[in-house]
Structure formats: structure tokens, C-alpha cells
């Protein structure tokens, strides 16, 4: 018995500005959003992608070496993340899942901050208000509502900042992601739903979650949507800019499905060979987001050896800094677990902390004590 339908088809109805071979398309109306993207900007996007891929690889290596407990690689999703991430204004606010380290990089998150949580040293990495990005959300779909609420509040304030929710194809099955669309539409909230359809939710192919293009879901809620080639950094940038602009202008929410591919495992704890045809990965390699932009840059004479090695150096330096930040990260203190549970004093917890302090002290005092 076949339990499931055929599912959506990756290649159809995509906004694409750059073909896999690096040539430009006519842009079907979206090029107007890229008027300022000159050679330097193209090089910038290229360098960004090279750097985040390098960071990602280094983090994966750090995990393999036991320096990180876990890492969720973004390999293959650089264009979706850099394209959208670079479209944001400083005062926009991002609510993401765990995989948006490329977006975090665009927001200016520091290397130690990026790793803190994956090393297990802290419950999260950075100050959300310093970079206007919430720390990673692990509960699938939950952050879509946070973004919507933030956007509602932005509208109450009369501000023109936009909230952006990042989530995966799997997340579209969660009630929360759908309720977020209901609320966003009802309150015409300035929020952009950015779904990276990387074809997989751990071992589950997207056809389990969706019988039609994911982008087709939003219009039924009254939210305009677009399906973009998520391996095309220019198209990702353009559609995000359009959606942000709509939101800023009072046009309400938008939904973007960025069609891309998770080239690595779900996390370093996952083994995709158990469930995934290796040919699929090979197929998608030909659509690699970095190679694609490299081809364009080459064709336009922008990828000379000097720039190529400069980009590589920048990436290597970033990787080195990342590693350094990781291995030198200070260990948490032994009573830190009690901090920040509450913002205001809490009698019962204070008592527990004091008891534990005395307990640790008694251990240390005991013959052979170590604490």
C-alpha cells in the first residue's frame, strides 16, 4: 500500500535569477530589487557564502573532535541564508531555528557566541538585542509565533521594522506554524515567513509534510507567497527584499519558500546514508549555491586569483578564530545552573541553591573530596 502522495516537485515555479550554470535569467521582474548589487556587492555575497561554509565545516570538525556536543550543518543552504540575511535591516528582528548560522553571521553574531550553546557551555549564545536575532529555537515551529507577535508589537509601536521567521519544510506541519499564518494575516503583521525547504526533516522527505509546493499553503491564509530558488543567492536576496518592503509599507505578511538542499546530515548525530539515496546528493551538488555564484563572478571577471585567495584567507581566518573561540571558552561555574531562572528573587530556588552550595562544600571537605 502506498501511504503517501507524490509530494511537491523541487524544480517547478521557482523565482530564479541565476541559473546553476552561473548565467543570469531575465529575472521575471525581480531584478529591480537588485539595482545596487554591483560587482563589489556580488563579491561580498560570494565571500559571505564562502566564509559561512568554512565556519560550518570547522564547527563540524570541532564536533568530530569532541569540542562541540552537536552541530547542525547548513551545508548547501548558504545562498538562502546569505541572500535573505543580507536583505535585512539592522532593526529588523530574526527568529530562527537551529540551522540559521549563516543568518546569524549576517546579523553579526560572534564566533564564541555561535558555539556556546553547541559546546554545552550555556543555554544560549548571544544577546538577542545586540544583534536583533533571537537565539536558536529547537522546538519546531514555535518561533514562527514569536516572530508574528513581535511583528504585531512593531505595528503597535508604529515602527517600520520587520520580523522574520526562519523555519524548515518539516516545521510547516506543526500547528504553531499554521497558527502563525492565521495571526499574521488577521493582524496584517509585518512578518516574513522564510521557509528553507531543504527537502528533508531528519529522515523524512518533504513529500511527507506537503502534497503541494509549500509556497502554495500561504495564499489560503491570505498571505502572498513566492517560491524561490534557495540555491540562488541573488533570487533569495531579491524576494526577501520585496517581502520586507511589503511589510514595511503596511502590506502585511509574506511567505517565502526557498527551495534548497541539506547537503550534510541533519546534525552531526545523524547518518543520512540510512535513509537517503546518494544520487540525490550528487544531483544537488550540480546546483551548489557557491559554485553557481562563482561561475557568474568568473564570467564577469570578478573572480580573479587575488580575490579568490582573499576570500579563502578570510574564511580560513574566520575558521581559526572560531576554533580559538571554541577551545578557549570559559567553563561555566558550579552554581550557574541557578542563575536567571527568574528575573526576581525566588525563595524556594534560593534555598535550593544554598543547600547545593553547602553540599558542594561538604563534598570538597570530605576525605578525597574534589568539588
Amino acid at each position: 500500500m502506498s501511504l503517501h502522495g507524490r509530494g511537491p516537485v523541487p524544480d517547478e515555479n521557482l523565482v530564479q535569477l541565476l541559473r546553476p550554470d552561473g548565467t543570469r535569467t531575465d529575472g521575471s521582474g525581480y531584478t529591480e530589487w537588485l539595482g545596487d548589487i554591483d560587482g563589489a556587492a556580488l563579491r561580498g555575497l560570494y565571500e559571505d557564502m564562502v566564509v559561512v561554509r568554512r565556519i560550518d565545516q570547522e564547527a563540524t570538525a570541532l564536533q568530530r573532535q569532541g569540542e562541540l556536543a552537536l552541530w547542525p550543518p547548513l551545508l548547501g543552504q548558504e545562498a538562502a541564508q546569505i541572500g535573505s540575511g543580507r536583505a535585512l535591516r539592522q532593526d529588523d528582528f530574526v527568529f530562527s531555528s537551529y540551522r540559521e548560522n549563516g543568518v546569524a553571521y549576517c546579523r553579526g553574531v560572534g564566533y564564541a557566541d555561535l558555539l556556546r550553546v553547541w559546546r554545552g557551555n550555556a543555554p544560549s549564545g548571544w544577546d538577542p538585542y545586540a544583534v536583533n536575532m533571537a537565539t536558536p529555537q529547537v522546538i519546531i515551529g514555535a518561533q514562527t509565533l514569536h516572530a508574528t507577535g513581535y511583528a504585531m508589537a512593531t505595528k503597535f509601536d508604529g515602527a517600520d521594522a520587520v520580523a522574520v521567521a526562519y523555519f524548515g519544510d518539516g516545521a510547516t506541519s506543526q500547528g504553531d506554524a499554521n497558527e502563525a499564518m492565521v495571526f499574521a494575516a488577521s493582524f496584517q503583521a509585518p512578518v516574513v515567513f522564510f521557509c528553507q525547504n531543504n527537502q528533508w526533516a531528519i529522515s523524512e522527505p518533504v513529500r511527507l509534510q506537503a502534497q503541494r509546493d509549500i509556497a502554495d499553503r500561504a495564499p489560503g491564509f491570505g498571505i502572498p507567497s513566492v517560491r524561490v530558488d534557495g540555491n540562488d543567492v541573488l533570487a533569495s536576496l531579491a524576494v526577501t527584499r520585496q517581502a520586507l518592503d511589503r511589510a514595511r509599507g503596511g502590506g502585511g505578511p509574506s511567505f517565502i519558500e526557498a527551495v534548497t538542499y541539506r547537503m550534510g546530515p541533519h546534525t552531526t548525530a545523524d547518518d543520512p546514508s540510512r535513509y537517503r539515496d546518494p544520487n540525490e546528493l550528487e544531483d544537488w551538488k550540480s546546483r551548489d549555491p557557491i559554485d553557481r555564484l562563482a561561475r557568474l563572478l568568473k564570467a564577469e571577471g570578478l573572480l580573479d586569483e587575488e580575490f579568490a585567495s582573499q576570500a579563502k584567507d578570510t574564511a580560513d581566518r574566520a575558521a581559526a578564530e572560531l576554533r580559538e573561540a571554541c577551545v578557549t571558552m570559559p567553563e561555566p561555574g558550579e552554581l550557574d545552573v541557578f542563575d536567571n531562572v527568574y528575573a526576581t528573587p525566588h525563595t524556594v530556588l534560593a534555598e535550593q541553591k544554598e543547600e547545593y552550595r553547602r553540599y558542594l562544600a561538604s563534598l570538597a571537605a570530605a576525605p578525597g573530596g574534589t568539588a
Binding site: F93, F95, A122, P123, S124, D127, P128, Y129, A134, T135, I139, A142, T144, L145, H146, A147, T148, G149, Y150, A151, M152, A153, T154, K155, F156, D157, A163, G175, D176, E179, A180, V182, F183, S186, D339, N340, V341, Y342, A343, T344, H346, T347, V348, L349
Partner: protein
């Protein structure tokens, strides 16, 4: 001093909070034009506008989840859950987000949410309309849980909950919405801390602890017991998380006996925590094991049967008899 109902006192407290801080917003189902199914938010949308008192689409997870997003932006959302039994769709957002965000962000993001929940039974309602889910939340670290039992407390505590930088579950004993009492609307927010229990009636022989709707029943029990020669100390717990152990401890050290009463099912209810903690804290003072008078371990029953589930005066007095070592339903001969 004004005489007003419990429901009106909350309304008045909410109004104060809305006036006092433009970052306070109310969100919930039917709270706007209708003023809530219990009229607790009556007139507030009219007076403060649709973006301060927000009628939300019918989705509790989204009510809480969007409130989290608003809190991220500095707002102090007050979410109304229409009835106790409808809080469960929001459980995920409450337990994994609201309760944890301050910890997760190492104190950078505050979650000054208030979650108003009309709770408890005794009103002959349909299924899911009479539940007492407080134990789920007092077991959830990162949350505070309170319950007022009279209009004055309701008026102050709702404002204190909203002013608190931590998330607060505010349980409203719905069968007391129409009870009247004196309310001093000039009382300052610091006149009695939200986390402090209150000795309602002083007594020497046994300590009776409860909260919410049963406080009134406990007062009646104290009267009845007095006629029977037993001096009960009645404590309104008010804060269920954290529990004000100091106040209960002081009482039990004096009386040596504890009865705790609540509507929620007995197993794993607040009474278990109170009995266990007080036993641990006052073991050598206890003359008798603490007794719990609670709802049974059953789903909340239909209207015509709820009086067989809810602790009432007689069941509480039976519990008092037990800790006093007097003849009671479990001692000796049966009635028939």
C-alpha cells in the same frame, strides 16, 4: 473602600495596569467587544482600543506564542485563557518558551507575561470548564503561580502579576467571580507581597491550608470547628509557586497538624508538595501526618456529580478530625 465583586476587582486591576503602563496589552478570545465570557475585561477595549485589548483568533498556542513575541519587544502581555481546560493547546509555548526564555537567554530577554486562567469547579459547567491545572505549572520551573481568593487580593495581585518581570499564572477561582468584598483601590502594590501567604484565621490546634475558591470554605470550616472545640488556623496560600513555606511552617510548628485542601486531583497535586515539604521541615513538630482533602483521581465529572468530587465543608472537617485523631470516616465503625 468600595464594595465590589471579585470579577469587578480584576477588571479594575486590569484597568489600572493598562493606564499605568502603555506596554500592557490584553489578548484573548472574546475579551474585546464582549468583554470576556465572564465580563472580566468589560469595557476595556472600548476605553483602551483594539490594540491594547486584543480579540485573538481562536488558538491558544498562538495567543501565548505571539505574547512571547510581544514580550521580546518590551511589552507586558496579559493573556486570557477562556477556561482552565483550554490552556492545554498553549502548554508547549508556556512550558518550553514562556518558562524558559529568561533562563535560555541568560536574563537578557524578560518574559513579564501574565496568564489569566479562570479555574475550578462548582458552577455546574460542561466538560473542560471546571479544571484545576495549577499543579502542572507549579512543577514547571521558571513560572510563578498565584491565586487570589477575595476581591481585594484579586485587585492587587493582578497588578502585581503584571508588574512582575517573571511570567505569572494567575488562577481566578471562577465560582467566586460574583462574590463581593471591600476593595481599597488606593492600596499600593507593595502593601502585601504577591508571594506571601496570609493567615486568614489564627488558631492553635491544626493548620488548614488552601487557596482560591476553597478559602471561603476553609473559613466556614474554621467556624464549624470552633463550635466543635477545635481551633483551626486557616492559611490562604495565595502564591502556589513559590510556596511561602515560612508562613506555613510557623503555623505547623505551633499546631503540629496540617490539612491541605484543593480541588485538583490528589495525586501529584499541590497538596503532595505541601505535605512533603512541611513534613520535611517540621517533622519533629508533627503530631499527625498531614492530610490532603482533594479532588479524586478522576477526570472532572459532570455537573450533577461534581459535589462528589469537590472538597466541601464536611470533607474538610473530616480531614480535620483525622489530624485531630477524632472519630472520622476512616476511623472505627462505619455508619451503615
Amino acid at each position: 473602600m468600595n464594595t465590589m465583586t471579585f470579577g469587578r476587582a480584576i477588571n479594575s486591576g486590569l484597568r489600572r495596569a493598562l493606564e499605568h503602563d502603555s506596554r500592557v496589552v490584553l489578548i484573548g478570545e472574546d475579551i474585546g467587544t464582549l468583554g470576556g465570557v465572564f465580563r472580566i475585561t468589560d469595557e476595556l477595549q472600548k476605553d483602551f482600543g483594539g490594540h491594547r485589548v486584543i480579540d485573538a483568533p481562536l488558538a491558544e498556542s498562538a495567543i501565548l506564542g505571539t505574547a512571547v513575541g510581544m514580550a521580546y519587544r518590551g511589552y507586558r502581555p496579559v493573556c486570557e485563557i477562556q477556561f482552565d481546560g483550554f490552556i492545554y493547546p498553549a502548554f508547549n509555548q508556556i512550558v518550553s518558551q514562556v518558562a524558559k526564555l529568561h533562563y535560555r537567554t541568560q536574563g537578557r530577554v524578560k518574559m513579564p507575561l501574565t496568564i489569566r486562567v479562570p479555574f475550578g469547579g462548582g458552577i455546574g459547567a460542561a466538560e473542560h470548564h471546571s479544571e484545576s491545572p495549577e499543579a502542572y505549572f507549579l512543577h514547571t520551573s521558571g513560572l510563578r503561580v498565584v491565586s487570589a481568593s477575595n476581591p481585594q487580593d484579586a485587585f492587587l495581585m493582578i497588578q502585581q502579576a503584571i508588574a512582575c518581570d517573571d511570567p505569572v499564572l494567575f488562577f481566578e477561582p471562577k465560582r467566586r467571580y460574583h462574590s463581593k468584598g471591600e476593595v481599597d483601590e488606593d492600596a499600593g502594590l507593595d502593601s502585601y507581597p504577591m508571594e506571601q501567604a496570609r493567615v486568614e484565621i489564627a488558631g492553635d490546634d491544626a493548620t488548614l491550608v488552601t487557596y482560591g475558591a476553597l478559602v471561603q470554605v476553609a473559613r466556614e470550616a474554621a467556624m464549624a470547628a470552633r463550635d466543635d472545640g477545635i481551633s483551626l488556623e486557616v492559611i490562604d496560600l495565595r502564591s502556589l509557586s513559590p510556596i511561602d513555606f515560612a508562613t506555613v511552617e510557623a503555623s505547623v510548628r505551633k499546631t503540629g497538624r496540617l490539612v491541605v485542601a484543593h480541588e485538583a486531583s490528589r495525586t501529584g497535586g499541590l497538596g503532595a508538595e505541601l505535605a512533603a515539604s512541611i513534613t520535611q521541615r517540621c517533622f519533629y513538630y508533627l503530631e499527625h501526618a498531614p492530610e490532603r482533602i482533594a479532588g479524586f483521581d478522576i477526570p472532572y465529572p459532570p455537573a450533577k456529580m461534581e459535589h462528589h468530587h469537590l472538597p466541601d465543608l464536611d470533607r474538610i472537617l473530616d480531614g480535620v478530625d483525622r489530624v485531630m485523631g477524632r472519630p472520622n470516616s476512616l476511623s472505627g465503625q462505619e455508619g451503615n
